[in-house]
């Protein structure tokens, strides 16, 4: 996903001269092509995230489309108030880019586990969440954000994720994106980096009659389209590599809160807080938190 991000950003930046990339002294072996090709639009802000996000807002207020790139919680929780006040409140076209979504940096410890970010970012009015499920959705989200400049959060994984679409799909906020349709009336709906995992689950007997959809663009302003999409199915299981509290499943429940008959069709598969403070590979920790490769629920999972 990182490669797709920088390739697509380079491509877009060659057409749109207002695109700037700001990094928090991170991005080794990823951001160099942009820095070399567009040195006037590349800024290493140093290890200073609060100033970085405030500066990004300042540059955006002068016409730049700023992408602020860092790892996991550094461009989000560390400078949450700058995102809230400076970026989102002023409706400035800054995209906060966090690599290492979910438990991608599982071995690096709790500091690097991005499992509470949806909860933080979806609490902000004007903020669009972009959580692509594969490299092609990364490109799709970037194209959408350049065509629709606004405050946004782009959550991407690391490297090596498989592509699950045949081509770059067209994405719109709040709209479910079909990945695999088998004509049934049950659906797995994934957001972010769990899409390949959900794809694996389709091979399991428990999910043999499920379709697979992705929802890469969502947020506070896009709840109203959910009820009609849920209504098309008898069962909707949301999947996310985020804690159950305040995440994607919570968002969906809020979207359905006034329609109890639809709420009953929804189940959420999220991470248990037991993963907090534990290290391991991404797949190990996902399984430990309740997202097993075979799709089975665990007692500890939620």
């Amino acid at each position: 996903m990182r490669r797709a991000f920088i390739e697509e950003l380079l491509s877009l930046a060659s057409e749109e001269e207002r695109i700037a990339l700001m990094v928090g002294d991170l991005g080794y072996s990823v951001v160099e092509p942009f820095a070399e090709r567009f040195p006037e639009r590349f800024i290493n802000a140093g290890v200073a995230e609060q100033n970085m996000m405030g500066m990004a807002a300042g540059m955006a207020s002068e016409g730049y489309r700023v992408f602020v790139y860092s790892i996991a919680n550094f461009p989000t929780f560390r400078c949450a108030e700058q995102i809230r006040n400076d970026v989102a409140y002023h409706r400035l076209p800054v995209t906060v880019v966090a690599v290492g979504a979910g438990l991608a940096y599982g071995n690096l410890g709790y500091s690097h586990h991005a499992v509470q970010d949806y909860g933080l970012l979806r609490l902000l009015p004007n903020m669009l969440l972009a959580a692509p499920g594969d490299p092609l959705e990364v490109r799709a989200c970037l194209r959408y954000l350049i065509a629709h400049p606004q405050p946004a959060y782009l959550r991407i994984g690391k490297v090596g994720e498989p592509s699950l679409h045949a081509e770059v799909p067209e994405v719109r906020p709040g709209e479910w994106l079909p990945v695999l349709q088998r004509g049934g009336n049950k659906v797995l709906l994934s957001t972010g980096a769990t899409l390949p995992l959900a794809r694996q689950w389709l091979e399991q007997p428990a999910f043999a009659d499920y379709d697979l959809y992705s929802l890469p663009l969502w947020g506070m302003e896009h709840k109203q389209q959910q009820a009609e999409q849920v209504a098309r199915f008898a069962q909707v299981v949301t999947v996310e590599d985020h804690l159950a509290d305040g995440g994607f499943a919570s968002w969906m429940r809020e979207a359905l809160a006034e329609q109890p008959e639809l709420m009953l069709r929804h189940r959420g598969r999220s991470l248990s807080a037991r993963v907090c403070g534990v290290v391991g590979s991404q797949s190990t920790l996902n399984a430990y938190g309740g997202l097993r490769a075979d799709g089975a629920s665990t007692e500890e999972g939620v």
Binding site: G46, G54, G58, G63, N85, D86, H90
Partner: protein, 271 residues
């Protein structure tokens, strides 16, 4: 309107606004009124008839709690009609009790401290990289210099040689609860700022000619951002408010307002 007359007018308007709205922070506003008056009368290149003029100088008020000073300056300079100041502090008003970008002429909303300087640095960087002629001025409080984000921004602005940026520090030596010295001592502040790579000038922040001369002449060193360390008096211009920490929060009674306005009328007559 010359800066002295503008400052006197701003003090009257600010006191009226804060009293009417039963609001706080009049001491903080009075502290910066001379600085803001000089900026708007003589330094900033702005157009009240075209607040979004692309070539304007950008002014950021980072100590957003002192907003009545800026609202008063903007209304007095014609950015919006003076009677609109009566909306200050009312329910659903755009003239919020911390500075609001919904008001004509205001670049940026603040209220949480430590946000204005990084935002201003971003603007200055955009100006530099875009080859723009406009400049960026940002006004922070002394207590606000406790914020780590400001020191991050100081590092960045010096490293990137943003000499299109002027930082004004309202150094009145009082914070919310007590003195700066008793809270988190900043001294030696000028030396710290120089060590961070900034060109530093210290002035009496109520001496209009000194402030004017310094601000009009920046950058003082090519390749360095400038910081005006303005020694000020919290509550300046109203005798019973000067240097009294209580006026960070207290709002004036009608009697205190009348006394303050009388003092300002005398000052106006005295020129």
């Amino acid at each position: 309107m010359n800066s002295r007359l503008l400052a006197n007018t701003m003090r009257v308007l600010a006191l009226q606004m804060v009293t009417r709205a039963k609001a706080s922070h009049i001491g903080s506003a009075l502290s910066i009124i001379d600085l803001v008056a000089v900026l708007y009368a003589d330094v900033l290149s702005v157009d009240p008839g075209n607040p979004q003029w692309s070539e304007r100088d950008r002014f950021i008020l980072s100590k957003g709690h002192a907003c009545v000073a800026l609202y008063a300056a903007l209304a007095a300079q014609g950015f919006f009609p003076l009677p609109e100041l009566e909306e200050y502090g009312r329910d659903f008003s755009d003239l919020m009790n911390h500075i609001s970008h919904k008001v004509s002429g205001v670049e940026f909303s603040t209220g949480s401290l430590g946000h204005g300087l990084p935002f201003a640095v971003g603007k200055a960087l955009a100006g530099k990289r875009g080859g723009k002629g406009w400049r960026v001025c940002v006004l922070v409080s002394d207590g606000e210099m406790d914020e780590g984000s400001n020191w991050e921004a100081l590092l960045f602005a010096a490293h990137h040689r943003l000499d299109n940026l002027l930082l004004l520090i309202d150094y009145n030596k009082l914070q919310s609860l007590t003195t700066v010295a008793e809270t988190l001592a900043l001294e030696p502040l000028a030396e710290k700022l120089r060590a961070f790579g900034w060109a530093v000038t210290e002035v009496d922040g109520h001496d209009h000619e000194a402030v004017r001369s310094a601000c009009k002449g920046f950058p003082w060193q090519v390749g360095k951002p400038s910081v005006l360390l303005a020694h000020t008096v919290k509550g300046k211009g109203v005798s019973f408010m000067e240097n009294q920490v209580v006026w960070h929060y207290r709002n004036p009674s009608e009697e205190q307002l009348a006394q303050a306005l009388e003092e300002l009328a005398q000052a106006r007559e005295a020129g």
